[in-house]
C-alpha cells in the first residue's frame, strides 16, 4: 500500500450531457476535456498534461484503431503519449486505473483520463451488431445471445436460486430513474413507476425494456495529479484511495457461479485492501447497472448486501437517496445512460462532485467516501475504485 502522499487524486473533471446527441466524437472529446480543464480551481495549462488514457470500445468503427491520436489532437496537445484502453463497458474504469498507476509509480505528475462513446449515429442493425461484440463470440453470441440475453439468463438464475422477485428488479429502475431526474447530464430525466417497468415489452425474459440501460453518446474527462501535489490545483482534491481490478472467464457457461461475478469480488478485495477502510465507511456507491439485475448482483459481490439480500435492501429503500447506502445517485447507467467507454469515468465524475459537495439536488449528505464499480460485458472484467476526501 502506497503512503497517502504518493496516492493519486482527481483535481478536475468534465462531463458532457449523456443521451442521443448531435455532436460527433471529436466534439464530445473536446468538450469533456475543456470542461475538465476549466473545472480546476486554481487553473492548469493543457501543456502540463504529460500522458493520457482513453477508454472507448470504438462503436460504429468510425475510428476503430489508433483513436488515441484523436484524443491528443482534441486536447490540442499532440505529441504526448496516449493509450487506448478497451475492456468493453469497463474501458474507462480500466483507463482510470492505468492513470492512477502512472501517478502512483512516480512516472507522471499530471495525467488525463477520458472515456468516450458515440453510439446513436449508426442504424439500429449496426448498433445491435456492436452491442454483442464483447461477449463470448463462439458460444454466447452464436447461440443467439447479446448482453440482454446473457443478463436475462443471470436474472432467471438469480430468481431461481434466491427467490428474487420481479418487483426488486423493477425497483432498481424506479430508483435510478428517480435519481436521474435530479441529474442534468442524465439521458433520461423522467420518473417511472414500478407498474410501468413490469408492464413494459419484454426484451430478454425476465428483463423488459425498462430493465435495460439506453444506448447513449457522451464523454467524460478526469485530471489526475499526485495527492501531495494536488494543492497546486485545488484545495479539495478527491483522493483515489484504492484501485482494484479482476478478470473472469469470458463465457458465463465456463464460470462456476451463475449468480455472481468473481471479477467484481477480486476487484473489491484488492481495492479495500489498498484503501485501508471498510465497507461500513462508505457514504454511497456507484455500481454498474447496465441491466437492473446487474445492480443486485453488484451489491452482493461488493459485500454491500448479503448473498441473495440485495432485493430486500432495494425494496426497503436502503439504496435510495436518503437511504442507509445510496446507490447510483446520478441515475446509474439505467437513467443517466451508458456510452460504453465513458461509463467508468462518469462514475468517478459523480464521486468527484459528491465528495466535494457539488452534486446539487442529488447531494448525498456528509459524503466522505465512495466506491465506483465498473463491469466489462457480463463480468469478464471489472474494476472497483475507492475514493475519499482527506
Amino acid at each position: 500500500m502506497s503512503p497517502p502522499g504518493e496516492r493519486a487524486a482527481i483535481v478536475g473533471a468534465g462531463h458532457t450531457k449523456f443521451g442521443a446527441l448531435v455532436e460527433g466524437p471529436r466534439e464530445l472529446l473536446r468538450r469533456a476535456i475543456d470542461l475538465a480543464l476549466a473545472s480546476v480551481d486554481k487553473g492548469v495549462e493543457r501543456g502540463a498534461i504529460q500522458e493520457a488514457f482513453l477508454g472507448t470500445l470504438g462503436i460504429s468503427g468510425w475510428q476503430l484503431g489508433n483513436s488515441s491520436a484523436i484524443l491528443a489532437e482534441e486536447l490540442r496537445h499532440p505529441g504526448i503519449p496516449v493509450t487506448r484502453v478497451e475492456n468493453a463497458c469497463a474501458s474507462s474504469g480500466f483507463a482510470l486505473r492505468a492513470g492512477v498507476q502512472a501517478i502512483e509509480s512516480g512516472a507522471r505528475d499530471l495525467v488525463l483520463v477520458v472515456g468516450l462513446e458515440k453510439m446513436t449515429d449508426s442504424p439500429s442493425a449496426r448498433r445491435r451488431y456492436w452491442l454483442g461484440v464483447s461477449g463470448d463470440t463462439e458460444y454466447e453470441r452464436l447461440a443467439g445471445l447479446t448482453f440482454a440475453g446473457v443478463y436475462g439468463l443471470l436474472a432467471a438464475r438469480h430468481m431461481r436460486e434466491f427467490g428474487t422477485p420481479p418487483e426488486a428488479l423493477a425497483e432498481v429502475a424506479v430508483k435510478n430513474h428517480r435519481n436521474g431526474v435530479l441529474n442534468p447530464n442524465a439521458h433520461f430525466q423522467k420518473a417511472i413507476t414500478r407498474e410501468q417497468v413490469l408492464a413494459a415489452p419484454r426484451v430478454a425474459t425476465p428483463l423488459g425494456l425498462y430493465d435495460c440501460c439506453p444506448v447513449s453518446d457522451g464523454a467524460v474527462a478526469l485530471l489526475l495529479a499526485r495527492r501531495s501535489d494536488a494543492g497546486k490545483y485545488t484545495d479539495t482534491p478527491v483522493t483515489i484511495a484504492g484501485a482494484g481490478a479482476g478478470s473472469d472467464f469470458l463465457a458465463v457457461q465456463e464460470r462456476p457461479s451463475l449468480t455472481h461475478f468473481a471479477a467484481t469480488r477480486r476487484a473489491a478485495d484488492e481495492a479495500f485492501r489498498r484503501a485501508g477502510f471498510e465497507r461500513r465507511d462508505l457514504s454511497f456507491a456507484e455500481v454498474h447497472d447496465c441491466f437492473t439485475i446487474a445492480e443486485l448482483i453488484a451489491l452482493e459481490d461488493l459485500g454491500l448486501a448479503p448473498e441473495g439480500g440485495a432485493a430486500a435492501m432495494t425494496l426497503d429503500g436502503r439504496t435510495a437517496l436518503g437511504g442507509t447506502l445510496p446507490v447510483n445517485p446520478d441515475g446509474g447507467l439505467k437513467a443517466k445512460g451508458h456510452p460504453i467507454g465513458a461509463t467508468g469515468a462518469s462514475q468517478a465524475y459523480e464521486i468527484f462532485r459528491q465528495l466535494r459537495h457539488q452534486a446539487e439536488r442529488r447531494q448525498v449528505a456528509n459524503a466522505e467516501r465512495a466506491l465506483a464499480h465498473n463491469v466489462g460485458g457480463s463480468g469478464a472484467s471489472a474494476t472497483v475504485t475507492l475514493f475519499e476526501v482527506r
Binding site: T205, P206, L207
Partner: protein, 323 residues
C-alpha cells in the same frame, strides 16, 4: 425413439406435414437430417468403428461432407458426398461389397420442396432394395425418399416438431447467406477447429485432477496440466436446463435476424450436460417459453446462422428428456 439394437437402418422424416408434404424446419436441411438419422441409428455407439461414410445428397455443397464427418466423429476425409446419381450409387455399392461388415455408413437425405423431407441411415454392406421400382428414383433429389420407400421395413422415426408450428415456414431471405462480418466473428478455420466440441461435445478430462474442460482448450482448467488430458465426449442426449431466456425481436445478434424473421422470438438455455459442465444452446422445435428451468432437454445439430456464403452448424436444445 431409437432405431433399437441390431437395426441396420433407420428412416427419419419430419413430424410436421404441410400441404401433404413432410416439411423440414427453417434450421434443418439435408445435412442436419442426415446427422440426426445417423445419431438415431448409432445411438451413441461407434463400435465397430465406421471407416467410410457415403452420403447421397443432391443439394448440399461439397464442403459440407467435412461437417458431417465432424458430427459423426469419423476421421477427416472419411465422408464422400455423392450427388445422388444412380450409377454412382451402384458403383459405390459394388465397390463396398466384401468390405468389413458394419464399417460403412450410408446416408441418404433430401429436402427438395416437392417430395417429403427424409433421411435414411444404413449401416454395413448396402443391399439392393427389393421390389419393383426400387432403383427408380435414385436420380435427382428424390433419392432418399425412394430408397426409404423401398426399404419399407426400416424403423421410421417421425422427428419431433413443435406441434404449434404446424404451418408452412414463412419465406425468409436466402440471400442472407451473403452475410458478411463487420468485424467480430468466428473465422472459418476456427469454426472448423471447434467442431468436435460444438457438434460432439468433445472435452478433455484431466487424469491429474479429474476436472473436465469444455470446450477443448488444450490444457486443464482445473490444474493447468496439459500432458494428462483424456479426450472424452459429453452426453449429447442433453441435460438439465439451469436457466432460460426468451429473446424478443431486437435483442438478437444480427446473425440471428434470419431466424427472427422466419420464426419470431426464441429461447436460449444454459444446459448442464455433465456435472459442472454447461453449454449455451438455442432452443428449437418449441414455442418460446415452453422450456423451463429444471427441464431436461436433448440436443440436435441444426443450422445456426449464415456466414460468408454457407450455413454454420451447431447443436441446439430440443424439449424432451431422451432420444
Amino acid at each position: 425413439v431409437n432405431a433399437g439394437t441390431g437395426a441396420r437402418g433407420v428412416r427419419l422424416r419430419p413430424g410436421r406435414v404441410v400441404a401433404g408434404r413432410r416439411q423440414e424446419g427453417p434450421d434443418e436441411d439435408a445435412l442436419t437430417l442426415a446427422i440426426e438419422a445417423a445419431d438415431r441409428l448409432l445411438d451413441g455407439t461407434t463400435t465397430p468403428p465406421i471407416d467410410r461414410v457415403h452420403w447421397f445428397s443432391a443439394t448440399m455443397p461439397t464442403g459440407t461432407a467435412d461437417i458431417v464427418g465432424a458430427a459423426l466423429g469419423v476421421p477427416p476425409g472419411s465422408v464422400s458426398l455423392h450427388p445422388d446419381r444412380r450409377s454412382e450409387l451402384e458403383t459405390t455399392r459394388r465397390a463396398q461389397t466384401g468390405g468389413a461388415p458394419d464399417s460403412a455408413l450410408w446416408l441418404f437425405s433430401s429436402t427438395d420442396n416437392r417430395a417429403d423431407a427424409t433421411a435414411v441411415a444404413w449401416r454395413g454392406p448396402l443391399e439392393a432394395p427389393s421390389g419393383s421400382g426400387a432403383h427408380g428414383g435414385i436420380d435427382g433429389d428424390g433419392a432418399a425418399s425412394q430408397w426409404a420407400n423401398a426399404l419399407d421395413s426400416l424403423p421410421t422415426i417421425d422427428h419431433p416438431f413443435d406441434p404449434s408450428s404446424a404451418a408452412a415456414v414463412p419465406a425468409f431471405e436466402l440471400p442472407l447467406l451473403d452475410q458478411r462480418s463487420e468485424g467480430a466473428y468466428v473465422p472459418r478455420p476456427r469454426y472448423i477447429e471447434n467442431l468436435p466440441s460444438r457438434l460432439r461435445f468433445a472435452a478433455d478430462r484431466c487424469a491429474n485432477c479429474g476436472v473436465v474442460t469444455f470446450p477443448i482448450r488444450g490444457y486443464c482448467r482445473g490444474c493447468g496440466a496439459a500432458d494428462r488430458l483424456v479426450r472424452v465426449e459429453l452426453p449429447r442426449q442433453g441435460g438439465e436446463v439451469l436457466a432460460v431466456t426468451t429473446i424478443h425481436s431486437g435483442a438478437q445478434p444480427t446473425e440471428f435476424d434470419w431466424w427472427v424473421s422466419a420464426r419470431g422470438p426464441y429461447d436460449v438455455a444454459l444446459v448442464e450436460i455433465a456435472p459442472g459442465v454447461r453449454v449455451t444452446l438455442q432452443v428449437t422445435d418449441a414455442p418460446p417459453g415452453q422450456v423451463r428451468p429444471g427441464d431436461h432437454v436433448r440436443t440436435t445439430v441444426r443450422r445456426l446462422y449464415p456466414m460468408e456464403g454457407e450455413w454454420r452448424y451447431g447443436r441446439k436444445a430440443v424439449p424432451g428428456s431422451t432420444r
